[in-house]
Amino acid sequence: MSEMAHLWAIPRVSRRAGRVWRRNFDVFCKTWKVNFFPPFIEALLYLSAIGLGIGSYIGALNGVPYVNYIAPAILAISAMNSAFFECTYGSYVRMYYQKSFDAIIATPLSIEDVIAGELLWGATRAVISVTIMLPVLVAFNVISLPFSLLTIPLAFIGGLMFAGLAMCFTAITPGIDTLNYPSFLLITPMMLFSGTFFPLSVLPAIFQYVALAFFPLTHLVSLMRMATLPAPGAILLLNIIWILVATVVFCIISINLMRRRLIV
Protein backbone atom coordinates (compact mmCIF):
# COMPACT_ATOMS: atom_id res chain seq x y z
CA MET A 1 0.00 0.00 0.00
CA SER A 2 1.29 3.48 -0.77
CA GLU A 3 1.97 6.10 1.86
CA MET A 4 -1.12 8.09 0.87
CA ALA A 5 -3.40 5.07 1.05
CA HIS A 6 -2.14 4.40 4.58
CA LEU A 7 -3.28 7.84 5.67
CA TRP A 8 -6.83 7.19 4.52
CA ALA A 9 -7.20 3.69 5.96
CA ILE A 10 -9.98 3.42 8.52
CA PRO A 11 -8.22 2.91 11.88
CA ARG A 12 -9.32 -0.01 14.03
CA VAL A 13 -10.39 1.62 17.26
CA SER A 14 -11.81 -0.42 20.12
CA ARG A 15 -13.97 0.62 23.06
CA ARG A 16 -10.75 0.56 25.11
CA ALA A 17 -10.18 4.12 23.84
CA GLY A 18 -12.52 5.07 26.67
CA ARG A 19 -9.82 4.09 29.17
CA VAL A 20 -7.52 6.79 27.83
CA TRP A 21 -10.35 9.33 27.95
CA ARG A 22 -10.97 8.28 31.54
CA ARG A 23 -7.29 8.71 32.46
CA ASN A 24 -7.33 12.29 31.19
CA PHE A 25 -10.67 12.94 32.85
CA ASP A 26 -9.28 11.74 36.21
CA VAL A 27 -6.31 14.08 35.92
CA PHE A 28 -8.64 16.95 34.99
CA CYS A 29 -10.82 16.27 38.04
CA LYS A 30 -7.81 16.26 40.36
CA THR A 31 -7.07 19.84 39.31
CA TRP A 32 -10.64 20.94 38.59
CA LYS A 33 -10.27 24.28 40.34
CA VAL A 34 -7.56 25.54 38.01
CA ASN A 35 -9.38 24.04 35.04
CA PHE A 36 -12.77 25.45 35.92
CA PHE A 37 -11.96 29.15 36.15
CA PRO A 38 -10.30 30.02 32.82
CA PRO A 39 -13.45 29.59 30.68
CA PHE A 40 -15.50 31.41 33.29
CA ILE A 41 -13.11 34.37 33.43
CA GLU A 42 -12.66 34.29 29.66
CA ALA A 43 -16.39 34.70 29.11
CA LEU A 44 -16.55 37.59 31.58
CA LEU A 45 -13.59 39.37 29.99
CA TYR A 46 -14.80 39.04 26.42
CA LEU A 47 -18.32 40.16 27.27
CA SER A 48 -17.13 43.18 29.23
CA ALA A 49 -14.31 44.34 26.96
CA ILE A 50 -15.60 43.60 23.49
CA GLY A 51 -19.30 43.29 24.13
CA LEU A 52 -19.93 46.19 26.43
CA GLY A 53 -16.86 48.28 25.58
CA ILE A 54 -16.72 48.12 21.81
CA GLY A 55 -20.39 47.23 21.67
CA SER A 56 -21.37 50.58 23.15
CA TYR A 57 -19.97 52.27 20.00
CA ILE A 58 -21.45 49.78 17.59
CA GLY A 59 -24.87 49.30 19.08
CA ALA A 60 -26.66 46.85 16.85
CA LEU A 61 -25.40 44.73 13.98
CA ASN A 62 -27.90 43.36 11.48
CA GLY A 63 -30.55 44.28 14.03
CA VAL A 64 -28.87 42.26 16.78
CA PRO A 65 -27.18 43.93 19.79
CA TYR A 66 -23.41 43.64 19.24
CA VAL A 67 -22.81 41.75 22.46
CA ASN A 68 -25.43 39.18 21.43
CA TYR A 69 -23.72 38.95 18.04
CA ILE A 70 -20.32 38.01 19.48
CA ALA A 71 -21.61 35.76 22.29
CA PRO A 72 -21.72 32.59 20.10
CA ALA A 73 -18.27 33.46 18.71
CA ILE A 74 -16.90 33.48 22.23
CA LEU A 75 -18.27 29.95 22.69
CA ALA A 76 -16.90 28.73 19.37
CA ILE A 77 -13.45 30.24 19.95
CA SER A 78 -13.31 28.71 23.39
CA ALA A 79 -14.32 25.29 22.04
CA MET A 80 -11.64 25.60 19.36
CA ASN A 81 -8.92 26.65 21.79
CA SER A 82 -9.72 24.00 24.39
CA ALA A 83 -9.67 21.13 21.91
CA PHE A 84 -6.79 22.45 19.84
CA PHE A 85 -4.41 23.16 22.70
CA GLU A 86 -5.35 19.94 24.52
CA CYS A 87 -4.42 17.87 21.47
CA THR A 88 -1.31 19.83 20.53
CA TYR A 89 0.64 20.79 23.64
CA GLY A 90 -1.26 18.49 26.01
CA SER A 91 -0.99 15.39 23.84
CA TYR A 92 2.60 16.19 22.85
CA VAL A 93 3.66 16.40 26.49
CA ARG A 94 1.96 13.09 27.25
CA MET A 95 3.47 11.48 24.16
CA TYR A 96 7.01 12.84 24.22
CA TYR A 97 7.90 14.00 27.71
CA GLN A 98 5.80 11.70 29.87
CA LYS A 99 6.08 8.66 27.54
CA SER A 100 2.51 7.91 28.54
CA PHE A 101 1.57 6.51 25.13
CA ASP A 102 4.47 4.03 25.29
CA ALA A 103 3.33 2.90 28.72
CA ILE A 104 -0.27 2.48 27.56
CA ILE A 105 0.44 0.51 24.38
CA ALA A 106 2.27 -2.10 26.49
CA THR A 107 -1.24 -3.01 27.72
CA PRO A 108 -4.05 -4.43 25.54
CA LEU A 109 -4.68 -0.95 24.12
CA SER A 110 -3.43 -0.17 20.61
CA ILE A 111 -2.00 3.15 19.47
CA GLU A 112 -5.28 3.72 17.61
CA ASP A 113 -7.17 3.34 20.89
CA VAL A 114 -4.81 5.80 22.59
CA ILE A 115 -5.15 8.50 19.94
CA ALA A 116 -8.92 8.02 19.67
CA GLY A 117 -9.13 8.46 23.45
CA GLU A 118 -7.06 11.64 23.22
CA LEU A 119 -9.31 13.02 20.46
CA LEU A 120 -12.45 12.27 22.44
CA TRP A 121 -10.88 13.97 25.41
CA GLY A 122 -10.06 17.04 23.30
CA ALA A 123 -13.71 17.20 22.26
CA THR A 124 -14.75 16.81 25.88
CA ARG A 125 -12.57 19.76 26.87
CA ALA A 126 -14.48 21.85 24.33
CA VAL A 127 -17.79 20.72 25.82
CA ILE A 128 -16.59 21.52 29.35
CA SER A 129 -15.49 25.05 28.34
CA VAL A 130 -18.75 25.84 26.56
CA THR A 131 -20.80 24.40 29.42
CA ILE A 132 -18.99 26.59 31.94
CA MET A 133 -19.43 29.68 29.77
CA LEU A 134 -23.13 29.22 29.07
CA PRO A 135 -24.40 30.31 32.52
CA VAL A 136 -22.30 33.49 32.26
CA LEU A 137 -23.84 34.32 28.90
CA VAL A 138 -27.30 33.55 30.25
CA ALA A 139 -26.63 35.82 33.23
CA PHE A 140 -25.69 38.64 30.84
CA ASN A 141 -28.87 37.86 28.95
CA VAL A 142 -27.09 37.74 25.59
CA ILE A 143 -28.23 34.31 24.39
CA SER A 144 -31.66 32.79 24.15
CA LEU A 145 -32.75 29.57 25.81
CA PRO A 146 -33.47 26.75 25.21
CA PHE A 147 -31.98 26.77 21.68
CA SER A 148 -28.61 27.89 23.02
CA LEU A 149 -28.26 24.49 24.70
CA LEU A 150 -27.55 23.19 21.18
CA THR A 151 -24.13 24.80 21.52
CA ILE A 152 -23.16 21.90 23.82
CA PRO A 153 -23.46 19.13 21.20
CA LEU A 154 -22.01 21.60 18.68
CA ALA A 155 -19.02 22.05 20.99
CA PHE A 156 -18.50 18.30 20.97
CA ILE A 157 -18.51 17.85 17.21
CA GLY A 158 -16.59 21.09 16.64
CA GLY A 159 -14.19 20.10 19.41
CA LEU A 160 -13.61 16.73 17.79
CA MET A 161 -12.86 18.50 14.49
CA PHE A 162 -10.26 20.78 16.10
CA ALA A 163 -8.84 17.90 18.15
CA GLY A 164 -8.30 15.93 14.93
CA LEU A 165 -6.71 18.93 13.22
CA ALA A 166 -4.48 19.51 16.26
CA MET A 167 -3.44 15.86 16.42
CA CYS A 168 -2.31 16.02 12.77
CA PHE A 169 0.13 18.77 13.73
CA THR A 170 1.21 16.89 16.85
CA ALA A 171 1.93 13.83 14.73
CA ILE A 172 4.27 15.67 12.38
CA THR A 173 5.87 18.31 14.58
CA PRO A 174 9.61 17.81 15.13
CA GLY A 175 9.45 19.33 18.63
CA ILE A 176 7.19 21.20 21.00
CA ASP A 177 8.41 24.64 19.83
CA THR A 178 7.27 24.11 16.25
CA LEU A 179 3.72 23.62 17.54
CA ASN A 180 3.74 27.43 17.84
CA TYR A 181 3.42 27.69 14.05
CA PRO A 182 -0.11 26.30 13.71
CA SER A 183 -1.05 28.29 16.81
CA PHE A 184 -0.25 31.69 15.40
CA LEU A 185 -0.46 31.00 11.67
CA LEU A 186 -3.79 29.22 11.80
CA ILE A 187 -5.58 29.61 15.13
CA THR A 188 -5.03 33.35 15.57
CA PRO A 189 -6.11 34.36 12.02
CA MET A 190 -9.09 32.05 12.33
CA MET A 191 -10.10 33.64 15.58
CA LEU A 192 -10.21 37.04 13.86
CA PHE A 193 -11.45 36.27 10.35
CA SER A 194 -14.12 33.61 10.74
CA GLY A 195 -17.16 35.80 11.14
CA THR A 196 -16.44 36.02 14.82
CA PHE A 197 -16.39 39.72 15.77
CA PHE A 198 -17.75 41.11 12.50
CA PRO A 199 -19.73 39.54 9.61
CA LEU A 200 -17.73 37.94 6.82
CA SER A 201 -19.79 39.97 4.35
CA VAL A 202 -17.84 43.15 5.10
CA LEU A 203 -14.64 41.54 3.80
CA PRO A 204 -13.56 41.42 0.13
CA ALA A 205 -15.07 38.43 -1.66
CA ILE A 206 -11.79 36.54 -1.84
CA PHE A 207 -11.45 36.64 1.97
CA GLN A 208 -14.97 35.36 2.34
CA TYR A 209 -14.26 32.41 0.08
CA VAL A 210 -11.03 31.59 1.91
CA ALA A 211 -12.79 31.72 5.26
CA LEU A 212 -15.60 29.49 4.03
CA ALA A 213 -13.35 27.04 2.25
CA PHE A 214 -10.47 26.67 4.68
CA PHE A 215 -11.38 27.94 8.16
CA PRO A 216 -13.15 25.32 10.25
CA LEU A 217 -14.05 27.99 12.79
CA THR A 218 -16.19 29.86 10.23
CA HIS A 219 -18.62 26.96 10.16
CA LEU A 220 -18.67 26.40 13.90
CA VAL A 221 -19.31 30.09 14.62
CA SER A 222 -22.06 30.14 12.02
CA LEU A 223 -23.85 27.17 13.58
CA MET A 224 -23.41 28.41 17.13
CA ARG A 225 -24.83 31.80 16.14
CA MET A 226 -27.88 30.14 14.61
CA ALA A 227 -28.41 28.39 17.96
CA THR A 228 -27.96 31.38 20.27
CA LEU A 229 -29.86 34.08 18.38
CA PRO A 230 -31.76 31.78 17.46
CA ALA A 231 -32.15 32.16 13.68
CA PRO A 232 -31.40 29.58 10.99
CA GLY A 233 -28.95 30.90 8.43
CA ALA A 234 -28.80 30.41 4.68
CA ILE A 235 -25.68 28.25 4.83
CA LEU A 236 -26.86 25.89 7.58
CA LEU A 237 -26.47 22.79 5.43
CA LEU A 238 -23.05 23.81 4.13
CA ASN A 239 -21.86 24.39 7.70
CA ILE A 240 -23.06 21.00 8.91
CA ILE A 241 -21.63 19.04 5.98
CA TRP A 242 -18.31 20.92 6.11
CA ILE A 243 -17.87 20.17 9.81
CA LEU A 244 -18.86 16.51 9.55
CA VAL A 245 -16.57 15.83 6.61
CA ALA A 246 -13.66 17.74 8.16
CA THR A 247 -14.09 15.93 11.49
CA VAL A 248 -13.98 12.50 9.86
CA VAL A 249 -11.03 13.41 7.65
CA PHE A 250 -8.95 15.07 10.39
CA CYS A 251 -9.54 12.27 12.89
CA ILE A 252 -8.70 9.46 10.48
CA ILE A 253 -5.58 11.14 9.15
CA SER A 254 -4.37 12.11 12.60
CA ILE A 255 -4.63 8.56 13.92
CA ASN A 256 -2.78 7.18 10.89
CA LEU A 257 -0.09 9.87 11.12
CA MET A 258 0.38 9.08 14.79
CA ARG A 259 0.68 5.39 14.04
CA ARG A 260 3.33 6.19 11.46
CA ARG A 261 5.21 8.31 13.98
CA LEU A 262 5.07 5.92 16.93
CA ILE A 263 4.92 2.39 15.57
CA VAL A 264 8.25 1.60 13.92
Binding site: S100, A103, V264
Partner: protein
Protein backbone atom coordinates in the same frame (compact mmCIF):
# COMPACT_ATOMS: atom_id res chain seq x y z
CA UNK B 1 7.99 -28.17 28.46
CA UNK B 2 5.72 -25.68 26.72
CA UNK B 3 7.38 -22.93 24.72
CA UNK B 4 6.14 -19.49 25.76
CA UNK B 5 7.95 -17.69 22.96
CA UNK B 6 9.06 -19.17 19.66
CA UNK B 7 10.95 -17.17 17.07
CA UNK B 8 12.30 -18.40 13.77
CA UNK B 9 14.22 -16.35 11.21
CA UNK B 10 12.94 -13.29 13.07
CA UNK B 11 14.15 -10.14 11.30
CA UNK B 12 13.64 -6.42 11.74
CA UNK B 13 14.97 -3.72 9.45
CA UNK B 14 14.58 0.04 9.72
CA UNK B 15 14.85 1.44 6.20
CA UNK B 16 18.28 0.11 5.24
CA UNK B 17 19.49 -0.70 8.74
CA UNK B 18 19.21 -4.31 9.86
CA UNK B 19 18.48 -4.30 13.59
CA UNK B 20 17.70 -7.98 14.07
CA UNK B 21 18.73 -10.56 11.53
CA UNK B 22 17.26 -14.06 11.24
CA UNK B 23 17.35 -14.98 14.92
CA UNK B 24 15.89 -18.19 16.23
CA UNK B 25 15.12 -19.02 19.84
CA UNK B 26 12.50 -20.40 22.13
CA UNK B 27 11.75 -19.59 25.75
CA UNK B 28 10.33 -22.29 27.98
CA UNK B 29 7.75 -21.85 30.67
CA UNK B 30 9.22 -20.97 34.05
CA UNK B 31 12.71 -19.93 33.01
CA UNK B 32 14.59 -16.66 33.19
CA UNK B 33 15.97 -16.03 29.72
CA UNK B 34 18.53 -13.25 29.20
CA UNK B 35 19.51 -11.11 26.23
CA UNK B 36 23.03 -9.70 26.48
CA UNK B 37 24.90 -7.58 24.03
CA UNK B 38 26.52 -4.19 23.43
CA UNK B 39 24.40 -1.13 22.70
CA UNK B 40 22.74 -1.43 19.31
CA UNK B 41 22.96 -5.23 19.28
CA UNK B 42 19.21 -5.59 18.71
CA UNK B 43 18.10 -6.59 22.22
CA UNK B 44 15.48 -3.90 22.74
CA UNK B 45 14.19 -4.30 19.18
CA UNK B 46 13.65 -8.00 19.86
CA UNK B 47 11.83 -7.22 23.11
CA UNK B 48 9.62 -4.69 21.34
CA UNK B 49 8.59 -7.22 18.72
CA UNK B 50 7.63 -9.69 21.45
CA UNK B 51 5.72 -6.93 23.27
CA UNK B 52 3.66 -6.39 20.09
CA UNK B 53 4.64 -2.71 19.81
CA UNK B 54 6.98 -3.06 16.84
CA UNK B 55 5.95 -5.12 13.80
CA UNK B 56 8.52 -7.61 12.54
CA UNK B 57 9.89 -7.33 9.01
CA UNK B 58 10.01 -11.08 8.32
CA UNK B 59 10.22 -14.48 9.97
CA UNK B 60 7.81 -16.03 12.41
CA UNK B 61 7.13 -15.12 16.01
CA UNK B 62 4.67 -16.74 18.39
CA UNK B 63 3.97 -15.68 21.95
CA UNK B 64 1.73 -18.09 23.88
CA UNK B 65 1.17 -19.64 20.46
CA UNK B 66 -0.32 -16.36 19.13
CA UNK B 67 0.99 -14.11 16.38
CA UNK B 68 1.71 -10.51 17.52
CA UNK B 69 0.46 -9.27 14.14
CA UNK B 70 -2.86 -11.07 14.47
CA UNK B 71 -3.72 -10.95 18.16
CA UNK B 72 -1.69 -8.24 19.92
CA UNK B 73 -4.35 -7.53 22.55
CA UNK B 74 -4.57 -11.24 23.45
CA UNK B 75 -0.81 -11.40 23.97
CA UNK B 76 -0.52 -8.08 25.75
CA UNK B 77 -3.26 -9.09 28.18
CA UNK B 78 -0.87 -11.78 29.48
CA UNK B 79 2.49 -9.99 29.55
CA UNK B 80 4.03 -7.45 31.91
CA UNK B 81 6.60 -5.00 30.61
CA UNK B 82 9.35 -3.15 32.49
CA UNK B 83 10.72 -0.71 29.90
CA UNK B 84 14.22 0.67 29.83
CA UNK B 85 12.96 4.23 30.18
CA UNK B 86 10.97 5.17 33.22
CA UNK B 87 7.51 6.04 31.91
CA UNK B 88 5.44 6.27 35.07
CA UNK B 89 2.53 8.70 34.87
CA UNK B 90 3.63 11.88 36.69
CA UNK B 91 0.00 13.03 37.00
CA UNK B 92 -0.76 10.28 39.52
CA UNK B 93 0.53 8.97 42.84
CA UNK B 94 2.13 5.54 43.24
CA UNK B 95 -1.20 3.85 43.91
CA UNK B 96 -2.84 5.99 41.21
CA UNK B 97 -0.35 4.76 38.63
CA UNK B 98 -1.20 1.15 39.40
CA UNK B 99 -4.96 1.75 39.52
CA UNK B 100 -5.02 3.58 36.19
CA UNK B 101 -2.88 0.82 34.67
CA UNK B 102 -5.23 -1.83 36.05
CA UNK B 103 -8.07 -0.21 34.10
CA UNK B 104 -6.19 -0.70 30.83
CA UNK B 105 -6.37 -4.45 31.56
CA UNK B 106 -10.09 -4.32 32.39
CA UNK B 107 -9.41 -5.34 35.99
CA UNK B 108 -12.49 -4.51 38.10
CA UNK B 109 -11.95 -1.70 40.58
CA UNK B 110 -12.39 -3.77 43.76
CA UNK B 111 -9.97 -6.41 42.51
CA UNK B 112 -7.51 -3.68 41.45
CA UNK B 113 -7.51 -2.20 44.96
CA UNK B 114 -6.49 -5.56 46.41
CA UNK B 115 -3.76 -6.09 43.84
CA UNK B 116 -2.37 -2.59 44.33
CA UNK B 117 -2.11 -3.15 48.08
CA UNK B 118 -0.33 -6.49 47.59
CA UNK B 119 1.99 -5.22 44.88
CA UNK B 120 3.05 -2.13 46.81
CA UNK B 121 3.91 -4.49 49.64
CA UNK B 122 5.76 -6.79 47.23
CA UNK B 123 8.06 -3.98 46.08
CA UNK B 124 8.32 -2.43 49.55
CA UNK B 125 6.51 0.81 48.67
CA UNK B 126 3.46 0.58 50.93
CA UNK B 127 4.47 3.76 52.74
CA UNK B 128 4.77 5.65 49.45
CA UNK B 129 1.23 4.75 48.41
CA UNK B 130 0.05 8.37 48.13
CA UNK B 131 3.37 9.92 47.13
CA UNK B 132 3.74 11.77 43.83
CA UNK B 133 6.03 10.14 41.27
CA UNK B 134 8.54 13.01 41.16
CA UNK B 135 9.14 12.58 44.91
CA UNK B 136 10.43 9.02 44.43
CA UNK B 137 14.09 8.02 44.18
CA UNK B 138 15.35 6.23 41.07
CA UNK B 139 15.24 2.89 42.86
CA UNK B 140 11.67 3.43 44.02
CA UNK B 141 10.60 4.30 40.49
CA UNK B 142 12.07 1.09 39.11
CA UNK B 143 10.36 -0.91 41.83
CA UNK B 144 7.06 0.79 41.10
CA UNK B 145 7.47 -0.01 37.41
CA UNK B 146 8.00 -3.66 38.37
CA UNK B 147 4.81 -3.54 40.43
CA UNK B 148 2.98 -1.94 37.49
CA UNK B 149 4.19 -4.71 35.18
CA UNK B 150 2.72 -7.28 37.57
CA UNK B 151 -0.74 -5.69 37.87
CA UNK B 152 -2.29 -8.14 35.39
CA UNK B 153 -0.66 -11.25 36.94
CA UNK B 154 1.33 -11.77 33.75
CA UNK B 155 2.41 -15.20 32.57
CA UNK B 156 5.42 -13.58 30.92
CA UNK B 157 7.42 -10.71 32.35
CA UNK B 158 9.66 -8.74 30.00
CA UNK B 159 12.32 -6.58 31.61
CA UNK B 160 14.55 -4.23 29.63
CA UNK B 161 17.50 -3.43 31.90
CA UNK B 162 15.47 -3.67 35.11
CA UNK B 163 18.22 -2.54 37.50
CA UNK B 164 19.80 0.22 35.41
CA UNK B 165 21.27 2.93 37.63
CA UNK B 166 20.22 1.32 40.91
CA UNK B 167 22.23 1.06 44.12
CA UNK B 168 23.25 -2.43 45.30
CA UNK B 169 20.43 -2.60 47.86
CA UNK B 170 17.76 -1.90 45.29
CA UNK B 171 19.33 -4.32 42.80
CA UNK B 172 19.34 -7.11 45.36
CA UNK B 173 15.71 -6.45 46.19
CA UNK B 174 14.74 -6.67 42.50
CA UNK B 175 16.77 -9.86 42.03
CA UNK B 176 15.14 -11.44 45.02
CA UNK B 177 11.69 -10.56 43.72
CA UNK B 178 12.47 -11.93 40.27
CA UNK B 179 13.60 -15.24 41.74
CA UNK B 180 10.41 -15.34 43.77
CA UNK B 181 8.36 -14.76 40.63
CA UNK B 182 10.18 -17.55 38.83
CA UNK B 183 9.53 -19.85 41.78
CA UNK B 184 5.84 -19.08 41.31
CA UNK B 185 6.06 -20.35 37.74
CA UNK B 186 6.45 -17.05 35.88
CA UNK B 187 8.51 -16.88 32.73
CA UNK B 188 10.90 -13.95 32.62
CA UNK B 189 12.67 -12.40 29.67
CA UNK B 190 15.30 -9.77 30.41
CA UNK B 191 18.06 -7.70 28.88
CA UNK B 192 20.91 -6.38 30.96
CA UNK B 193 24.35 -4.84 30.69
CA UNK B 194 25.27 -6.15 34.13
CA UNK B 195 26.91 -9.49 33.46
CA UNK B 196 27.01 -10.47 37.12
CA UNK B 197 23.26 -9.93 37.17
CA UNK B 198 22.81 -12.17 34.13
CA UNK B 199 25.06 -14.85 35.65
CA UNK B 200 23.11 -14.81 38.89
CA UNK B 201 19.60 -14.75 37.48
CA UNK B 202 19.42 -16.29 34.03
CA UNK B 203 18.78 -19.97 33.45
CA UNK B 204 19.73 -19.47 29.85
CA UNK B 205 20.95 -16.50 27.89
CA UNK B 206 22.06 -15.37 24.48
CA UNK B 207 24.81 -12.91 23.65
CA UNK B 208 23.81 -10.76 20.69
CA UNK B 209 25.78 -8.46 18.45
CA UNK B 210 24.90 -6.76 15.15
CA UNK B 211 21.43 -8.29 15.22
CA UNK B 212 22.48 -11.92 15.47
CA UNK B 213 23.15 -14.42 18.24
CA UNK B 214 26.77 -15.21 18.98
CA UNK B 215 26.15 -17.91 21.60
CA UNK B 216 23.29 -19.38 23.55
CA UNK B 217 23.34 -21.45 26.73
CA UNK B 218 23.40 -21.56 30.52
CA UNK B 219 25.79 -18.92 31.99
CA UNK B 220 28.15 -21.45 33.66
CA UNK B 221 28.31 -23.63 30.54
CA UNK B 222 29.09 -20.62 28.36
CA UNK B 223 31.95 -19.56 30.62
CA UNK B 224 33.42 -23.07 30.65
CA UNK B 225 33.03 -23.61 26.91
CA UNK B 226 34.10 -20.18 25.73
CA UNK B 227 36.83 -19.20 28.20
CA UNK B 228 37.73 -21.93 30.67
CA UNK B 229 37.62 -21.91 34.42
CA UNK B 230 40.40 -19.52 35.41
CA UNK B 231 41.98 -16.33 34.13
CA UNK B 232 45.61 -15.44 34.84
CA UNK B 233 46.32 -11.71 34.74
CA UNK B 234 49.72 -10.01 34.37
CA UNK B 235 50.95 -6.51 33.65
CA UNK B 236 51.11 -5.63 29.99
CA UNK B 237 54.87 -5.14 29.45
CA UNK B 238 57.07 -6.05 26.45
CA UNK B 239 58.97 -8.55 28.66
CA UNK B 240 55.81 -10.41 29.63
CA UNK B 241 54.59 -10.58 26.04
CA UNK B 242 57.97 -11.81 24.78
CA UNK B 243 58.01 -14.42 27.52
CA UNK B 244 54.51 -15.64 26.73
CA UNK B 245 55.37 -15.85 23.03
CA UNK B 246 58.47 -17.86 23.88
CA UNK B 247 56.47 -20.26 26.04
CA UNK B 248 53.82 -20.60 23.33
CA UNK B 249 51.00 -19.57 25.68
CA UNK B 250 47.89 -18.06 24.07
CA UNK B 251 46.99 -14.73 25.63
CA UNK B 252 44.84 -11.68 25.14
CA UNK B 253 45.76 -8.05 25.71
CA UNK B 254 43.20 -6.11 27.71
CA UNK B 255 44.38 -2.54 28.22
CA UNK B 256 47.23 -2.51 30.74
CA UNK B 257 46.79 -6.20 31.41
CA UNK B 258 47.58 -9.47 29.70
CA UNK B 259 45.12 -12.29 30.27
CA UNK B 260 45.64 -16.02 29.86
CA UNK B 261 42.56 -18.22 29.95
CA UNK B 262 43.14 -21.66 31.45
CA UNK B 263 41.32 -24.65 32.80
CA UNK B 264 41.79 -26.15 36.27
CA UNK B 265 45.63 -26.24 35.93
CA UNK B 266 45.90 -22.47 36.41
CA UNK B 267 48.03 -22.71 39.55
CA UNK B 268 50.83 -24.62 37.89
CA UNK B 269 50.81 -22.32 34.90
CA UNK B 270 50.80 -19.24 37.13
CA UNK B 271 53.80 -20.58 38.99
CA UNK B 272 55.69 -21.18 35.75
CA UNK B 273 54.86 -17.71 34.49
CA UNK B 274 55.96 -16.13 37.76
CA UNK B 275 59.28 -17.99 37.57
CA UNK B 276 60.02 -17.49 33.88
CA UNK B 277 58.62 -14.08 33.00
CA UNK B 278 60.18 -11.04 34.62
CA UNK B 279 57.01 -9.67 36.16
CA UNK B 280 56.16 -8.70 39.67
CA UNK B 281 52.47 -9.54 39.47
CA UNK B 282 50.68 -12.72 38.42
CA UNK B 283 47.17 -13.18 39.74
CA UNK B 284 44.49 -15.75 39.03
CA UNK B 285 40.74 -15.37 39.28
CA UNK B 286 37.72 -17.42 38.20
CA UNK B 287 36.53 -16.76 34.64
CA UNK B 288 33.24 -14.87 34.40
CA UNK B 289 30.55 -14.11 31.91
CA UNK B 290 32.27 -10.78 31.36
CA UNK B 291 35.27 -12.61 29.88
CA UNK B 292 32.93 -14.46 27.51
CA UNK B 293 31.19 -11.22 26.59
CA UNK B 294 34.39 -9.30 25.85
CA UNK B 295 35.90 -12.23 24.01
CA UNK B 296 32.90 -12.48 21.70
CA UNK B 297 32.00 -8.83 21.21
CA UNK B 298 35.46 -7.26 21.42
CA UNK B 299 36.66 -4.31 23.42
CA UNK B 300 35.82 -1.56 20.97
CA UNK B 301 33.55 1.12 22.40
CA UNK B 302 30.01 1.15 20.93
CA UNK B 303 27.86 4.15 20.30
Amino acid sequence: MTAIIEADELTKTYNDMVAVSHIRFSVKKGEIFGFLGPNGAGKTTTMRMIECVSPRTSGTLRVFGMDPEVNPAGIKQRIGVVPQETNLDPDFTCAGNLLVYARYFDIPSAEAQIRVKNLLEFVALTEKRDTAIDKLSGGMKRRLILARALINNPDLLILDEPTIGLDPQARHLIWERLRLLRAQGNTILMTTHYLDEAARLCDRLVIMDHGTFLVEGAPADLVREQVGSEIIEMDNTPEVIACLDELGVTFEVAGDQVQVATDASSRELAKILLDRCKTSRVSTRPATLEDVFLKLTGRTLRE
